[in-house]
Amino acid sequence: MVQRHPTHLDAAFAAISDATRRGILERLGRADASISELAGQFRMTLTGMKKHVGVLEEAGLVTTEKVGRVRTCRLGEHRLDDEAAWIESYRQLWEARFDALDKVLEDLKREKHRERTRKSTRRRTRRRT
């Protein structure tokens, strides 16, 4: 099984979080295409399509090659294998837990702070009486 750097994985998952980019991957899964073909098919400007392809390229999901004035896109070498997908699911599980834990900790901090304030108020009151 291939081991991959976590930041690469993050980039890959960010890349496919977008519906258009998922569409582009599916399209390239059928056949290679140029940027302008893709732009036409997805009813997008060339600049917009270049940006999407750039994100996919950065994540290693797509490679491009310029011959003359045409840039051809094809699926990249880095495909997300089972292990990478599992690790990402696992990471998302813990991320969701820990984001919720943040909220519990915020509540606990507030509670402890209130307790401390109450105690010091009581001490002050006692001293006065």
């Binding site: 099984m1 976590p6 495909r79 997300l80 997908a85 599992w86 690790i87 696992y90 519990v104």
Partner: protein, 161 residues
């Protein structure tokens, strides 16, 4: 800003999760060891599951038994094991016994200027056990949220020639 959660397979049989919390270690430990607090964060809302019961005696030699249910499944799911080692405010080690080859999990809390670095290690009994867990596709909650199913579908289409 949320702190980021990192995951790495550090060896043939170990997965490590790291995350920093903006709270002292004693509070993180408290949120982990008091069942009434633990229930508030352990099951991600996106899974649509809830606790039926949550018993946890977080002391060395103590045990835990969690039962979850999902509205789409008739059978509840149970997760259970023992606390092998508990050092208040710094370390909890537990077993995961609901399946045969479950990992031993170790969480440590390390405080530095009011923040806590949490490191969770899940060590499987063998390379095969971790590979099997990965092959099963389950990440320990048995029900992958919808987005992962969609992702699986997409990955399937990408991998097929």
């Amino acid at each position: 800003m949320k702190n980021s959660t990192k995951v790495e397979r550090t060896s043939e049989r170990e997965i490590v999760v790291t995350r920093t919390f903006d709270a002292p270690a004693r509070l993180v430990f408290e949120a982990w060891s008091k069942p009434e607090l633990f229930q508030r964060w352990w099951i991600p809302k996106t899974l649509g599951m809830s606790f039926v019961s949550c018993e946890a005696d977080v002391r060395t030699g103590g045990s835990y038994h969690f039962v979850f249910r999902h509205p789409n499944f008739e059978q509840p799911m149970a997760f259970f094991g023992k606390y092998v080692e508990v050092v208040p405010h710094s370390r909890i080690v537990w077993t995961n016994e609901e399946s045969g080859d479950g990992p031993v999990s170790t969480v440590t809390f390390e405080e530095q200027s009011g923040k806590t670095l949490l490191v969770l290690r899940e060590r499987y009994p063998s390379k095969q056990a971790l590979d099997d867990a990965i092959a099963s596709g389950s990440v320990g909650t048995d029900a992958a949220p919808e987005q992962f199913e969609q992702l699986d579908e997409l990955l399937g289409t990408l991998v097929s020639p």
